[in-house]
Symmetry: C2
Subunit: 236 residues, 2 copies
DNA sequence: CGGACGTTTGAGGAACATCAAAGCCTGTGG
DNA sequence: CCACAGGCTTTGATGTTCCTCAAACGTCCG
């Protein structure tokens, strides 16, 4: 793992205060005064696609706020297969389980070129004792975890393979905020949906044939309402 | 919904302080002084099998600590199918998402005769502002949610139907703390594992034939190590 | 006792996994 | 700049698993 240190996001001055995604992120509710309680620098790290941020069972001393890109949380099964259990996007917190003095539960791997802020656990714990502003945000972030888990379980692992792929595309568009986004590899989509990459490929081919999806390089553009309609027709 | 009020678990005296599952539950870290901050009574409710504790999208004003029995969290899909996304056992918190001023995310239904404590949201919020002891426990409970979600996604929705059934049986034994436990209905097991009740039935029949599972009335007794072995053999 | 509901068992068929081979991009080094 | 290697994607043929539909059986409750 050769993470690149981009810069020191907070250095005693006001890097964090001015962070462009701070409102959504862990420190979103902190006041100017709260920031004065910080005494360790916060590093900003760059990851290229495929790089690992941390491994499951690693002793954890940091959590990471995602600033850009996308991080997958991966679980490996005894037989070597793997399964993606969550996707983290800007504002999300990777390694949140470390706040409980537990080792990381999954592997965190960048799916695209990504940037994260590395926040020391002790920093978070100290801050949490000295100001009540953090606990609320933490609860919101945990809630997000539950929400995602529910979507995953309720929509992405149920029904015919076609429905799963379509629901994933809609989910990706939702989280990206637009109908154009970086498409995960076929294998990754399979690991999200619990189907094989071949089935993913066949379904995507069919959707392209119907003009509901266009792909170009790493990007996909989807016809959102068309896909929603497609779901309803197949369901009945 | 006709929940039965069993009694007032906390009445200004020390019902909660002496609660036999308090250590694991929401108030586990509170001190005697913290309890003095409570000013609303906490009700203990009884549910019979099949009764609903709350519905998804209900405006939430309570969270519930499970005292006995088992509660399932259920999501309904547009086509009327349903999916169980989590099982709650004694010590777990139902409706935890309400702490974020959100409506409930799923339906909560008792699978067996169960008992829960009804805790007012405002109570939790007030307590959270006045003592730091709650936040830690909350984090631990959220962590539990994530943990369960990972197990669900990583083990119960992947692989052949037989493996899923066996993993569920092992999971139920783990959470029960012994190899004898109340077996969910075939339909519920199917809704957990994303397979049909017929497939569940066939698999269970086969496991019984092999002497790895015995059922009696609502109870099941499993050969834990035998099932673990069974998993390894099938895997390869 | 009879009805409703859950479980069991069977037969048939569809959907998906598996295996295999060919095609296509990407990046690398000559 | 082009050629080539590697990985990822696509497409096909085959087989198995599991879903679907259906009927019989068992059990719990009125």
């Amino acid at each position: 793992m050769k993470l690149i240190k981009i810069n020191q996001a907070w250095n005693g001055e006001d890097g964090c205060v001015n962070c462009n995604i701070r409102k959504q992120a862990l420190f979103g509710d902190l006041t100017r005064q709260d920031f004065d309680l910080l005494h360790l620098p916060i590093l900003e790290l760059g990851l290229s696609a495929g790089e690992t941020l941390y491994h499951a069972d690693d002793a954890a001393s940091y959590v990471y706020t995602v600033r850009s890109g996308m991080i997958k949380l991966v679980n490996f099964l005894p037989d070597g297969e793997y399964r993606i259990v969550r996707l983290l996007r800007p504002g999300d917190l990777a390694g949140i389980e470390a706040l409980n003095a537990r080792p990381y539960l999954n592997h965190a791997v960048a799916m695209q070129k990504s940037e994260v802020c590395q926040i020391s656990l002790t920093e978070v714990e100290l801050l949490n004792e000295q100001t009540p502003h953090l606990c609320k945000k933490l609860t919101a972030l945990w809630q997000q975890v539950q929400n995602d888990a529910d979507v995953w379980l309720g929509q992405l692992t149920v029904g015919a393979s076609g429905q799963r792929v379509v629901r994933l595309l809609l989910y990706l568009a939702d989280t990206a905020g637009k109908s154009e986004f970086v498409l995960p590899s076929g294998e990754d989509m399979g690991a999200i949906l619990a189907i094989t990459k071949e089935t993913v490929s066949r379904t995507m081919a069919e959707l392209k044939r119907q003009g509901l999806v266009q792909t170009e390089s790493p990007l996909a553009r989807i016809n959102y309402q068309g896909l929603e309609q497609w779901l309803k027709c197949v369901d009945q």
